[in-house]
Symmetry: C2
Subunit: 494 residues, 2 copies
């Protein structure tokens, strides 16, 4: 039976995926310094093995044969998702895949060297090669999938996301933010003039911060029987659904960045831990994509973790672990700090979408040929001026050279961040409609109902529908920026 | 070119091996409690993938074609070793391999349940099934390899080891030990009557013990750039040559067992770390086998770590880390304690070989049909009486039920332990001939020359020759028990 053959096929891929995830986590957390070379070789070989197995022509035959078999609805969805991922993986000729690997690796290496010096001139030709290649890739994907080129790229990260529906949403959001950022900054300034910012600094031993982080993770629902928290240079959430490996990094002179980072990664972890077990080795049983994943992490970080009510529960926990006695009035201005800046990853929830929309617009222009790589510094600067009133012309390191995405060939990925933020706000608003007590629950450290909604409407859905359909089914409407805008107004407005 | 195809083939197997090693280590050290089920599934799937790739019929064709190509001597050795391992892996029909997996898994599970109760009666039928199966396996391996059945089993663990050469060695050793154990015990008693044993107990925080262990590992040559030390329930040395993962376990009321365990595993680790890099993904570049591996761990544990001279260097290090002030006279009686006992894994270096020789004799009798599984309790008891004067008749838990090897289908493995001890003594004696200062060097914490000899003669040889040939090339003679016997006499005799 072909369905059984595909089940074995998925089991093999899932085992390789399991190995690659754990090897990746192990590399960041446990690997000896000199172990990198052979680890890189092993992981490259296993990735090649994964790709060869995933794109095996026999899969196409099994898929066709399985569709003729007597399948139940879950099996049909599983076959559909597997086919989607098969088509996405096989739509590029293998010599192109190899060329892409080489080109993007070269450009990424160059980027790592050139970025610290802000050396745009030597970086530009390498990025140009990537852009040329991405135009080819987008055209090939578009051809096979019957989509517009940029949509075909986004399809890898968020199945179903289309510029036709995102463009008006981002346009509305951008228009709002350009006016709202100054308003939020004015509100903040006024507040600080009445009560100056008290630095949240002190001496916080790592062990205490870790105990606090673990307590917070578990409070919001993380299952320590299926996960752990360790330390790495760059915090991430890795591992596998049955064993989610979260990491963070600590500074002993401040606790808030590590704590907020832990809350963010806990959001990713909750999604993974609560995916359906039965279909774990099939694509339909895995997390849907980048924007829904980010909606889950941002939900915990922003809707819960930066919610003032949350701190009624969280502040005593912080005081308890860190032997401090912060007041709400001292803490919240840090949790809600707004700042214009050049750097996306340092941005707060008010200014962040402007960084993303800038990239979303520019990468489409790069792909369509409306601008060329050499025009990037000026184009970037113009948009930064327009949206945040900041110039990056003399500072390419903190302008178009700041992200790894483009040099590594990831185009169509950036919108996921802000789509995630919008979806998180929309999910929260939906919960609020049926459960008006949710704020009070969170204030008392009770996350059962909010998690039950997310389990029923997001986590358990895994990849059984497209990104927009999961959102629509969960919230009763298509992506609507009004919820995020209302959220910002309530938290940061006059 | 077929050699290049085989090179790719080995690279794939080595990557899977890398993944399985790290996943195994991760499971013991870092895995969340609930991660076991999906880890077991992933590892079983990857092992199956390994087996399928390793036994691919195409490998046979490539091997034949490669032999006709123009190969340099290293390539010829590589091809020879790959063929050896291919033949060893393909000599059993796949339905037998599956049956073996099921039978031994069932018997091992039963053993885990029955052993704590010493329930021989319910364990016996399961072991009987394994014995029947192992007789079949030995016959099949013997047929393909043109070896005697027991030799064919040993061939998997130590290529080239044959009963014809081991039998006289073990016979001589056993005859010696049956007389020598009482002598060593009498010497010990006399010493203790003059100076009673002072317990090595106290309060030793884990962090201090770990720092001591790390200092000791590095002193004897372990490269922390390519390895690490962590904690697990059952100490082992895992990982990969570029990143050796050693583990130990600590008790806070004593330090010697953990420290000696670390020295033992460091011996395994040194071997792995110093294997030749160029052939790392070929079988010829991997560690030779169980007995040479054990010779390396025992060399560090016994020839170095239980050498009284070593403690001139080590004792100040211990005192320093543990804030103690032991005297040599208090410490050495613990390091050299001899004790008759029922349990192999608790045995000292004097009595240990008797435990091994007993198993070596019994497993041959079981395989040949000279005894049956039901006769084991009596046969075991008789041999224990004969060699150590201990009866196990009423205590099967600590008699034939004590080891996991037989229930899990590992026959032909036991001799490796004592062969390792004999080889370690023979290697030490060889070093001593050309470097009479080796004792003084070790006493001052200088391990450069002893390690240089081992690197040149053992580590760098990897699997480029058979086990007996590596020993002969390194020491100038075949396995000779005289060196181990002389070692015991010098350390424990009158
Ligand atoms: Zn995230
Ligand atoms: Zn060992």
């Amino acid at each position: 039976m072909s369905f059984a053959k595909l089940d074995d096929h998925c089991r093999g891929l899932s085992a390789l995926d399991h190995a690659l995830s754990i090897l990746g986590t192990d590399e960041a957390v446990n690997m000896a310094p000199g172990g990198g070379e052979s680890r890189a070789e092993a992981m490259a070989t296993l990735s090649g093995m994964y790709h060869r197995q995933a794109t095996d022509p026999k899969v196409r035959d099994w898929l066709e044969a399985a569709k003729a078999e007597d399948l139940d609805p879950e099996q049909e969805i599983a076959i559909g998702e597997l086919e989607r991922s098969y088509v996405n993986m096989t739509c590029l000729p293998s010599d192109f895949v190899e060329r892409k690997m080489r080109t993007s690796m070269k450009s990424e290496q160059l980027w790592r060297k050139a970025r610290p010096k802000g050396d745009w001139t030597s970086f530009q030709p390498a990025l140009e090669e990537v852009v040329t290649m991405m135009r080819e890739e987008a055209a090939m994907r578009a051809e096979v999938l019957g989509l517009a080129p940029y949509d075909a790229l986004m399809e890898q990260f968020d199945p179903g996301n289309r510029t036709a529906s995102i463009n008006p949403v981002f346009a509305e959001l951008k228009a709002f933010l350009v006016d709202f950022v100054p308003e939020a900054l004015a509100v903040q300034e006024e507040n600080l003039s009445r009560r100056p910012l008290k630095p949240l600094s002190g001496d916080y031993p790592v062990e205490r911060q870790k105990a606090l982080g673990l307590a917070m993770m578990q409070a919001v629902g993380f299952d320590m029987n299926h996960g752990s928290l360790s330390v790495s240079d760059h915090p991430f959430c890795g591992g596998v659904p049955s064993d989610v490996r979260m990491t963070t990094r600590y500074r002993t002179d401040e606790f808030l960045p590590a704590l907020m980072g832990i809350l963010h990664e806990t959001g990713h972890g909750l999604y993974e831990q609560n995916l359906p077990k039965d279909w774990a080795h099939w694509p339909s049983g895995k997390a849907r994509g980048m924007s829904i994943h980010e909606s889950q992490s941002l939900f915990v970080e922003k809707q819960i973790g930066r919610n003032p009510t949350f701190w009624r529960f969280a502040l005593p926990l912080v005081d308890d672990h860190l032997k401090e006695a912060w007041t709400m009035e001292d803490l919240l201005p840090h949790v809600h700090q707004v700042k214009r800046g050049k750097i996306r990853v340092d941005a707060d929830e008010v200014t962040y979408p402007l960084h993303v929309i800038l990239r979303y617009e520019l990468e489409q222009e790069l792909l369509s040929g409306a601008i060329e790589t050499k025009d990037l510094p000026e184009a970037w600067d113009a948009k930064m001026q327009e949206s945040l009133g900041i110039s990056t012309l003399d500072d390419p390191q903190n302008g178009p050279m700041q992200d790894v995405h483009w040099p590594s060939g990831a185009f169509g990925y950036f919108p996921s961040y802000t789509l995630g933020a919008l979806m998180a706000a929309q999910q929260w608003a939906t919960i609020l409609k049926t459960n008006p007590d949710v704020d009070a629950q969170i204030g008392s450290g009770d996350f059962d109902q909010v998690n039950a909604w997310r389990r029923d409407n997001i986590w358990s859905k895994a990849s059984t529908a497209s990104t927009p359909d999961i959102l629509r089914n969960a919230t009763g409407e298509a992506l609507n920026p009004a919820w995020f805008i209302a959220h910002l107004k309530a938290r940061y407005g006059k």
